[in-house]
Amino acid sequence: MTGLALLYSGVFVAFWACMVVVGEAGPWRAGHSMGPTWRGWTPARALYPGRDPGLQLLEEGRGFLTETSPFMWSNLGIGLAISLSVVGAAWGIYITGSSIIGGGVKAPRIKTKNLVSIIFCEAVAIYGIIMAIVISNMAEPFSATDPQAIGHRNYHAGYSMFGAGLTVGLSNLFCGVCVGIVGSGAALADAQNPSLFVKILIVEIFGSAIGLFGVIVAILQVPKPDPGPLYPCPQPSLTLFLEKLKCSSSLPITVESPKQLPSPHSHLLISSF
């Protein structure tokens, strides 16, 4: 058990280290326009006199969320879809498999019939790979580095793919474990009394259905494929022109794009460039 605890805590620490590093990287790189200039690197958490702490947290979050490319989110989603599904399937297969082997010593007739449980677990991994392929087909390259140029559509696409991957991955993880535990019980019960197998298989089918729910929700979550390329976003040319102006000067220019969702802090998003 210490191995598992080590794994969980290691993943946790690694994840938050990434968050902190990436979160620092944005404001650090954007250095001078963040307020009073400071020499050397100080953590973004340091409170400067006269700064509103609430605003600062938002800027940090903003720093992280806008400094990370939507590509990271989409690829994380694809990775999670396949990897968590495979973890679930593997877990289920070994739980069932060892019970089948043990029970099959004294009751060899159960060996072939109980492979059905293994197939149910394997189906979970197949859902995962299908979703991973579907999600990865949605991703198309774009080139932009600042949030305004990336545009809300790309952000939306990135977050959706992450969400879809997480949905299908986690639901398949638990589905695989569930089918595995029930399959183990089915194998041992079958060894004692052959009429029990079909009854427990019904329980297993219900367990398998929950993985399917995850797939359905994930399909609904992935962004609908656009008829045209994702970038550049269809925006009025005036906005584009203003953007080009803005990038070349350091004057704070408020750009009102009709596609932009109204947000109380939108002036903050722009004023830092």
């Binding site: 058990m1 598992l4 605890a5 877990w91 070994y94 739980i95 498999g97 060892s98 019970s99 089948i100 082997i101 043990g102 029970g103 099959g104 010593v105 004294k106 009751a107 474990v177 535990i181 183990s184 019980g185 194998a187 041992l188 060894a191 004692q192």
Partner: protein, 350 residues
């Protein structure tokens, strides 16, 4: 999440659990016992046993077949199965198996010491020792005079070493002291086993702890019963009771004061589990207290198989197999002595 044994039990122990459940399925059924009870001779018994999972285990026996030969062969068979489980097990199941063998080791040590006291040869006694409780240096037990000798010379390397803490005294080993030594060793062993199961937690603790509590209480009752009319003082008696059962602390204190069977029965009446057991004693079947306790033990051991992913199945299987062996020996004795009135007093495992 960490307490769920379903998630990780099968990594190390899945195969063995499947195997032991298969072995349990091949225990003799009620129908088998009825067939065995109808046998006229031991040869018939052997033929009937061939149709069960026992197979040809008596094939190489010379005529005439005796009950003790049957018993020895059955024990050897159980031992082979047990060693197969143990050799294929991983920690912490291996420690669990070691704990299971300790009770047989204690019996063997006491048997050897008694034999030494009566000046019997070591070889004779070794034949009677239980094979599950085998440990190296068994032959050296007869040279010990005092418990501390015994410990330092022989038992320090066996798994029994930690149980000797309460038993170290300079008294020479005579008959009474040997029995006291047996009970004290068993008490330490039971408490250590209980603590091991409890610390393991999860389903194993839920299944094993009630079984061990019953074992502790049963020992307390049997010690009390056996000490009526002996010169064992009440304080001594109380030190022999294991403290992990339901009877501790009130019941044990009352039991230590009991003088006869009725007083013991009154102590048991305070406990909902033991009251019906004591009421079943005597009755029309002529059951003794030990018979009643065996029946109850069979019931709780069979219940252990209702849950999955715990170590209790291994313990329960060995105990049920032992009960089956006792049943077969009982039937065989009744057949060989042609005293068939009580042949149906075996305890079927349902």
């Amino acid at each position: 999440m960490l307490e769920c044994s379903e998630l990780y039990f099968n990594v190390d122990h899945g195969f063995l659990e499947g195997l032991v459940r298969g072995c349990k399925a091949s225990l003799l059924t009620q129908q088998d016992y009825i067939n065995l009870a109808q046998c006229e001779t031991l040869e018939d018994l052997k033929i009937h046993l061939q149709t069960t999972d026992y197979g040809n285990f008596l094939a190489n026996q010379t005529n005439p077949l005796t009950v003790s030969k049957i018993d020895t062969e059955m024990r050897k068979r159980l031992c082979r199965e047990f060693y197969y489980f143990r050799n294929n097990s991983l920690e912490p199941l291996s420690t669990f198996f070691t704990y299971m063998t300790c009770s047989y080791m204690i019996d063997n040590v006491i048997l050897l010491m008694n034999g030494a006291l009566q000046k019997k040869s070591v070889k004779e006694i070794l034949v009677k020792c239980h094979p599950l409780g085998r440990f190296t240096e068994m032959e050296a037990v007869n040279i010990a005079e005092t418990p501390s000798d015994l410990f330092n010379a022989v038992l320090v390397e066996t798994p029994l070493a930690p149980f000797f803490q309460d038993c170290m005294s300079e008294n020479t080993l005579d008959e009474l002291n040997i029995e006291l030594l047996r009970n004290k060793l068993y008490k330490s062993y039971l408490e250590a086993f209980y603590k091991f199961c409890k610390n393991h937690g999860d389903v194993t603790a839920e299944v094993m702890c009630p079984i061990l509590e019953f074992e502790a209480d049963r020992r307390a009752f049997i010690i009390t019963l056996n000490s009526f009319g002996t010169e064992l003082s009440k304080e001594d008696r109380e030190t022999l009771y294991p403290t992990i059962g339901k009877l501790c602390p009130e019941g044990l204190r009352l039991l230590a004061q009991a003088e006869d069977f009725d007083q013991m029965k009154r102590v048991a009446d305070h406990y909902g589990v033991y009251k019906p057991l004591f009421e079943a004693v005597g009755g029309n079947g002529g059951k003794t207290l030990e018979d009643v306790f065996y029946e109850h033990e069979v019931q709780i051991n069979v219940l252990a198989f209702n849950r999955q992913f715990h170590y209790g199945v291994f313990y329960a299987y060995v105990k049920l197999k032992e009960q089956e062996m006792r049943n077969i020996v009982w039937i065989a004795e009744c057949i060989s002595q042609r005293h068939r009135t009580k042949i149906n007093s075996y305890i079927p495992i349902l």
